[in-house]
Symmetry: C2
Subunit: 291 residues, 2 copies
């Protein structure tokens, strides 16, 4: 199976898992927008990282799929809230109206809130792992990664940067992105090792490198990308005069840096041998992607 086929197969499995786990329309009037927000396609990169790291560490796939569903729910909640008028004010997400456009502002706030709760409910349930210490570790680490010292902090830093008197330095933007997008990517890659009760250092180092590469590529795509393919507005950061990796490093140096991070990520995986090839492919995909 080629890498895009593997990615699509993962996305399809996660979709089925989410479908089985999410509240039904009969159970809740927010079930429909919850499902709309989280089951809208997407690359499912975080889910793929969970499934591949779980496979590498010998964890059965049923458990890994639940964890993948949880991280995609957290990611989806963050997108629903980031798209709100008070934040990025985006009308489109993957070519479809965002939740506050298709429904309304209040529904979008509530759906994000409910998707966050849902993720922790799934992780904490016995079906995720027979070992409750492992489940608690997943909950505590994801809550930390998503919260006020992780993803939410990164978003707050991003918003503050827009009105700051001076542009961010490279160090500051690296820290911001390590929080805003890096925290969930690092957690996803470590989740397989956590499910197996193993040390997560190697996976964390790998994910730190690809997380940064991912964001640099996002900034590259904001300049070079195709809005139709991306299904969202582009050049937003450039238009807003925001400091990005591209504005700070220049386009060529940004691309070089992303590529060297991919090499670094692949090197980190060396001790795992050939079996880690899909994770190397993720790393390469991150800088090769056009959307």
């Amino acid at each position: 199976m080629s890498f895009p086929e593997q990615l699509a197969a993962c996305a399809s499995q996660v979709q089925s898992t989410l479908d089985a786990l999410l509240p039904t329309v009969a159970q809740s009037r927010v079930a429909e927008p919850m499902r709309y927000a989280v089951m809208n396609g997407g690359k499912r990169l975080r889910a793929f990282l969970v499934l591949e790291s779980a496979r590498l560490y010998g964890v059965e796939q049923t458990a890994a799929l639940r964890v993948a569903a949880a991280i995609e729910s957290i990611h989806a909640y963050s997108l629903v809230h980031d798209d709100l008028p008070c934040m990025d004010d985006d009308d489109l997400r993957r070519g479809k109206p965002t939740v506050h456009i298709k429904w309304d502002y209040a529904t979008a706030v509530l759906v994000g809130d409910a998707l966050q709760s849902f993720a922790f409910e799934v992780l904490a349930q016995p079906e995720t792992s027979a070992n409750a210490d492992i489940r608690c570790n997943l909950v505590a680490t994801l809550a930390h990664a998503a919260g006020g010292c992780g993803m939410v902090l990164g978003q707050a830093q991003d918003i503050a940067a827009e009105t700051a008197a001076r542009g961010l330095t490279l160090t500051e933007i690296t820290e911001l992105q390590a929080n805003k997008t890096g925290a969930l990517i690092r957690w996803s890659a470590q989740a397989g090792a956590m499910l197996a009760g193993q040390d997560t250092t190697l996976m964390r180092d790998y994910a730190t490198a690809i997380g940064l590469a991912f964001q640099i590529q996002d900034d590259v795509l904001d300049i070079e990308g195709d809005a139709a393919a991306a299904g969202k507005r582009l050049q937003k950061d450039a238009d807003a005069g925001k400091a990005t990796f591209v504005s700070l490093l220049g386009l060529d140096a940004a691309k070089k840096r992303a590529n060297s991070l991919v090499t670094e990520a692949c090197d980190v995986l060396a001790p795992l041998g050939e079996r880690a090839e899909p994770l190397r492919q993720v790393a390469r995909f991150i800088v090769a992607r056009k959307m």
Copy 2:
């Protein structure tokens, strides 16, 4: 110690616990609004229910205080989001500017999000209970109570009722409130039994009764209350023409119903004897309170 003194002592202990557990301003730029939102006084009824049920079931207070801090964080997050312009649009909460007034809209969304994550992080950490199965049970049940089939559903039902063609029936408003405010109150009272690994049926029945009494009294206070004492706008529901327990039952019958629910709640506690007196006092306080 009188009941108001007990309640104040509990509030003070929960405040110290939150202070010790919340991120510091040095750790996160959202720490200050997080602290503002959750450490703004309040009756701490949910925390009191956690501490008293924990005491009844022989759980050590250090653990119970962490659980109390978690439920107050979830409650605080829900208030921050409910106060947003897209929801109840309230400028004041307990006499102080709401988070979106003191900071801004985006900060209020993010702070609510971070407080939700924080609650699950605290519950899942080993310090909450040596037994990880118990910690997972707390996380899974609170996530369910707070999420799209619990509190968030209740809020969505409440919003939908505002634009519905007809007013809610008594059955519908009872269900709405069992979700919107009842779910967290039920969870709080059950938390002590959960921490002890005991059956929660008795505490659930008790809390179902006081949860409904609480909401009926809220509707009574919306008509009869003192805005200055309450620290928020009153008569909002009446002005909006919303169906409430008072509009459906009439003021006197609503008060009678609240009182009979208190009697019911106290009767449920009979098997626990004198030791459950503080929980009976909570029940009586709920309908006696003026704010």
